[in-house]
């Protein structure tokens, strides 16, 4: 099985970046074509993962390992399970789409732009594929730098402020997370006498409750800033609004998922006691609910189209974290699906803002109105994405939010009740946005001669829309992929979850976890 497929997926963008650096600066078309080809290649090589992935196996698959720094026990280990599989595919798809969308939007310093984008892509893939905490941390930090430049060089009027704010916020969170990682690492050493960052090894540890709590909150700061959860979200509207379209798409589509992925991959399985501590659950659940409602309310208030979409991310990600902290199969699976959904539909919404911005160079909602008269194709695409984002049945958002609510309902009816309010508000701000920009007569003469979508714009919106329909109509393959990995996490947190509810256990064999086996 050692055919290094994952390495190929991971390093395609990186190799592409180095080759790109060799192309002379003046060859702009060549640079663009090449960057698009690299992303396309990256997407194509990641497709076999979908078919190769063994859905009946809950463990990490296609693992590749190499010694890297033996002195500190850091290894190059990459592998994936269902959760990372979906996020990797999302990354390669959204990466391709956003590079294609930059074709005419980015006019200056092309070479640097595409080089940074490819580096960013490699960093994000690395985050989702790493099974070694040290490696994970390296990738986690690596992608900060290109993102800083993408916002800071090619962004809007307040780009420098937004870029450094994004950078410092994330850095602050990640260095605290580093302390958490080091604490676990050293604790593992004192228990087993070997230094290792390997996640599978760290899971064997018996960590005292107090230490788990401290480490959990250290991780929490790192991941919550990335998600971003409610009190840590202030960097997001700035970064999303100021970034160039493709930057916003990648930020919303993929980067935010790194935070939620961190919770699912690290916080929950490594620190089960702290994760199911009632204080933790209550705190995170209520922060999520505040995010859902607050994000939606602030979205309602926005006069800036892009800012509205940015704040809607806060609300949607609130659902993702709520699903995670429900700690049951529905909540977790729904959360991962919703992460994918958010990547698709919010990615689409940012692309749509970008298309309008390219034509009019303004993001004020009041500048638009009646666009459906001149841009019918555009209006259809916008309509579908908007409905997907609002959670309309037969589209993807509905599946994600419904499953999360199921999970939340199982734990607390109050949570579910408050979150439903968020869905209603979500529909309100999205429909109102659509109405203000698309319907009615054209009030602004500048909008009278706008061109409808061209071929390239169709090319990058259609794949995302198809995925939206696919997940909305037939989500079964996605749930199949997620079933085992999610069950593994749930059993680690609540060993009798399935038995006590009389549900069929998706993982009948005893989970190789010492504590889970000992529980009577």
């Amino acid at each position: 099985m050692q055919d290094h497929l994952l390495s190929i997926v991971l390093f395609t963008p990186l190799v592409g970046m180095f080759v790109l650096l060799l192309i002379p600066k003046g060859q702009t078309t060549l640079i663009k074509v090449f960057a698009n080809l690299v992303m396309l290649a990256g997407f194509l090589v990641s497709l076999p993962l979908w078919f190769r992935y063994d859905r009946s196996n809950a463990d990490f698959q296609m693992i590749e390992r190499l010694e890297w720094i033996p002195s500190i026990g850091a290894r190059f280990i990459i592998g994936l399970d269902g959760i990372s599989l979906l996020l990797v595919l999302l990354t390669t798809l959204v990466g391709l789409v956003s590079v294609l969308s930059s074709w005419s939007a980015i006019q200056e310093r092309l070479k640097e732009y595409y080089a940074f984008f490819l580096l960013l892509q490699a960093g994000m893939l690395g985050v989702f594929l790493s099974l070694d905490f040290f490696l994970f941390y390296v990738f986690w930090e690596v992608m900060l730098v290109p993102m800083y430049f993408i916002i800071g060089v090619w962004g809007g009027p307040r780009k420098l402020y937004a870029a450094i704010k994004f950078f410092l916020y994330t850095l602050l969170g990640s260095v605290l997370m580093l302390l958490g990682i080091l604490t676990l690492y050293f604790h593992h050493y004192s228990q087993f006498g070997t230094y290792t960052f390997e996640i599978a090894e760290l899971m064997r540890m018996n960590t005292p409750h107090t230490m788990q709590m401290w480490v959990f909150w250290a991780f929490f700061v790192g991941f919550a800033i990335k998600v971003p959860m409610f009190p840590f979200h202030t960097w997001l509207p700035d970064a999303h609004t100021e970034a160039p379209t493709a930057g916003s798409v990648i930020l919303a589509g993929v980067l935010l998922k790194m935070g939620t992925y961190g919770f699912v991959r690290f916080s929950l399985p490594l620190l089960p006691d702290a994760s199911k501590d009632s204080r933790t659950v209550a705190a995170i659940a209520w922060l999520s609910i505040i995010a859902i409602i607050y994000g939606a309310l602030v979205s309602l208030m926005q006069k800036d189209w892009k800012k509205l979409v940015a704040y809607s991310s806060v609300s949607h990600l609130g659902f993702c974290t709520l699903g995670i902290i429900a700690l049951n199969p529905n909540g977790l699976a729904g959360s991962v699906i919703q992460q994918i959904n958010h990547g698709l539909s919010t990615g689409l919404l940012f692309l749509i803002v970008g298309i309008a911005y390219e034509r009019r160079h303004t993001r004020e909602i009041s500048e638009y109105g009646g666009l459906s008269n001149v841009m019918p194709g555009y209006a259809i695409v916008f309509c579908i994405s908007m409905l997907a984002s609002a959670g309309m049945p037969l589209l993807n958002g509905f599946i994600g939010e419904f499953t999360i609510l199921q999970g939340a309902f199982e734990v607390s009816k109050t949570w579910a009740a408050f979150s439903v309010a968020g869905i209603v508000l979500g529909a309100a701000y999205l429909l109102w946005l659509f109405q203000r920009t698309m319907f009615g007569p054209i009030t602004n003469p500048k909008n009278e001669h706008l061109k409808d979508l061209n071929l390239r714009e169709w090319a990058y919106t259609l794949p995302l829309i198809l995925c939206c329909f696919w997940i909305g109509v037939y989500p079964k393959p996605y749930f199949e992929i997620l079933e085992k990995p999610v069950a593994k996490i749930v059993k680690r947190l609540q060993p009798d979850y399935y038995r006590s509810r009389g549900l069929p256990d998706p993982l009948p064999a005893p989970v190789p976890v010492a504590r889970a086996a000992r529980t009577p």
């Binding site: 033996p70 002195s71 390296v138 730098v145 800071g152 850095l171 260095v175 302390l179 690492y185 050293f186």
Partner: protein, 488 residues
């Protein structure tokens, strides 16, 4: 006591002898070289350094098979610690020499003494890293310091350089005086100038003995001056700003490394038994150093001053390794100093590259739009700055990694939290430079005057900054070998 000069003594002294010989040689041959061909002096210095490297390598291979060796009645030793630091000094001096040639031409101050002084300074450092006896240590320190006083003021026609040299001299002399006072107390306590005896005498005393405390206080003040730790850091920004940039680089890297070698040797031998007394003190100084260094750097508009404050904050991080004091901490200090050598030298080499006959090149705005003018240089500078900020996969992260880990291992959680928070503060001011380089319009400062020397220096420093970050294993093993026997 046997006072005969044996071949062992000579073997132990060989690197210092080599450096001295070539230093004196340069002073002599300088008379024979016409003004236009002063670069021959640089070549002579490089040859001398190459010989020193060979000798060091001999000592290293001897040490690997036979272990530690003491010479001159135990005044100077060959041990892993000394060897590790000597390699760092050697690298720094090589970089300083190749960086200086072109720079001195621009400043029109090309004199042979300059290279001789570099070699003499390294001789002093050699003793600081290898000596285990108070008088030898003190002579080494003064040899290094005197060479630096002259080199800092080397630009005779430049007011800033003169002012810097004067400040550095006065404060340096004061700190040496404090140190000498501390050493005299050591002698009073133990009746011997050897660190081993001093350590024994201190261990034999009561923990709260005022005399021991006085010796500790005065010695620490002297040492903290040398590493520019807060509150004894005032000289550093001025000296760094005024000195010729190549010397600033050398001062910030080699002199700091040597002073740390000195400090570690004193604290780890003489003071190890009274660790509970000084640990909170050093922790406080480290915290203050990181705080002042980082906060003061934020508002600087001169790159040399900014880097001066940043190097103050780095000293704070290194001190934290001493606070933990376990194997990881000490290894962390070794790694940190090694990494710091490359990244800080690289950053200053960039400032040297910016200097030409029209502009001084040390203002933040002189870097404006560097990415348009010289993309390669901008990217190299980005690598150095990321490394200084401690962002993986550059080498700087590894140094910080060890320091943080050692703090966690020894349960200094609060210090660890402060230390990581200042990483974010530091990132802010390093990214001020990045922002200017990458997002501003190109400055009208004229051509960038790079020379072969600058390019080589940048290639070496950037190469190692990335190499240590991506494949650190051999360097970590070297750091492991540098530990004192008690920690290995």
């Amino acid at each position: 006591m046997n006072l005969e000069f044996t071949t062992t003594d000579f073997f132990v002294l060989k690197p210092a002898v080599m450096l001295c010989l070539f230093g004196c040689g340069i002073l002599l041959t300088d008379f024979l070289i016409p003004q236009r061909q002063k670069f021959f002096n640089a070549l002579t210095a490089l040859v001398g350094l190459a010989f020193t490297g060979v000798v060091l390598w001999q000592q290293q291979s001897f040490w690997k098979t036979n272990g530690d060796l003491a010479g001159l009645s135990g005044a100077v030793t060959i041990d892993g610690f000394g060897l590790f630091f000597q390699w760092i000094f050697l690298i720094s001096t090589v970089l300083a020499v190749i960086l200086s040639s072109r720079y001195l031409d621009i400043e029109q101050e090309h004199h042979g003494e300059y290279y001789a002084l570099l070699l003499f300074a390294q001789t002093g450092m050699t003793f600081l890293a290898t000596s285990t006896e108070l008088v030898t240590l003190f002579i080494g320190l003064e040899l290094m310091a005197l060479a630096f006083y002259v080199m800092v003021g080397f630009l005779r026609s430049d007011k800033r350089s003169n002012e810097a040299a004067m400040k550095y001299l006065l404060l340096g002399a004061f700190s040496s005086g404090m140190l000498a006072y501390g050493f005299s107390l050591f002698y009073g306590l133990s009746g011997s100038t050897k660190l081993v005896d001093v350590a024994q005498a201190i261990a034999g005393r009561e923990a709260r003995d005022p005399l021991v405390f006085l010796a500790l206080a005065t010695t620490s003040v002297g040492l903290f001056f040398k590493i520019a730790a807060v509150p004894f850091h005032m000289w550093a920004p001025d000296a760094y700003e005024g000195a010729p940039t190549a010397i600033t680089a050398y001062l910030s890297v080699a002199s700091k490394a040597a002073s740390f070698a000195f400090l570690l040797r004193i604290f780890q031998t003489a003071f190890e038994s009274i660790r509970p007394t000084w640990e909170p003190l050093v922790a406080g100084v480290a915290l203050a150093t990181m705080t002042i260094g980082n906060l003061a750097a934020i508002s600087q508009s001169n790159i040399k001053r900014l880097l001066a404050y940043s190097s103050i904050s780095h000293a704070g991080y290194i001190l934290l390794g001493l606070v933990s004091g376990n194997q990881t901490g000490m290894k962390g200090i070794a790694v940190y100093v090694l990494v710091y050598t490359f990244m800080n030298f690289g950053a200053f080499a960039m400032v040297v590259a910016m200097r030409n006959r029209q502009i001084i090149g040390d203002d933040l705005d002189d870097m404006a739009g560097l990415i348009h003018r010289r993309p390669t240089y901008a990217i190299l500078m980005l690598v150095f700055l990321l490394s200084l900020a401690g962002i993986p996969p550059t080498a700087g992260f590894l140094g910080k990694y060890y320091i943080f880990l050692s703090l966690i291992e020894t349960r200094h959680y609060y210090l660890a939290v402060f230390a990581v928070l200042y990483v974010a503060v530091a990132a802010y001011y390093y990214f001020r430079i990045v922002r200017v380089m990458f997002t501003s319009e190109a400055a009208s400062g004229g051509e960038i005057s790079d020379s072969l020397g600058v390019r080589v220096a940048l290639a070496i420093t950037a190469g190692f900054t990335l190499l240590i970050g991506l494949y650190p294993e051999p360097f970590l093993q070297a750091a492991q070998r540098s530990l004192f026997a008690s920690l290995r």
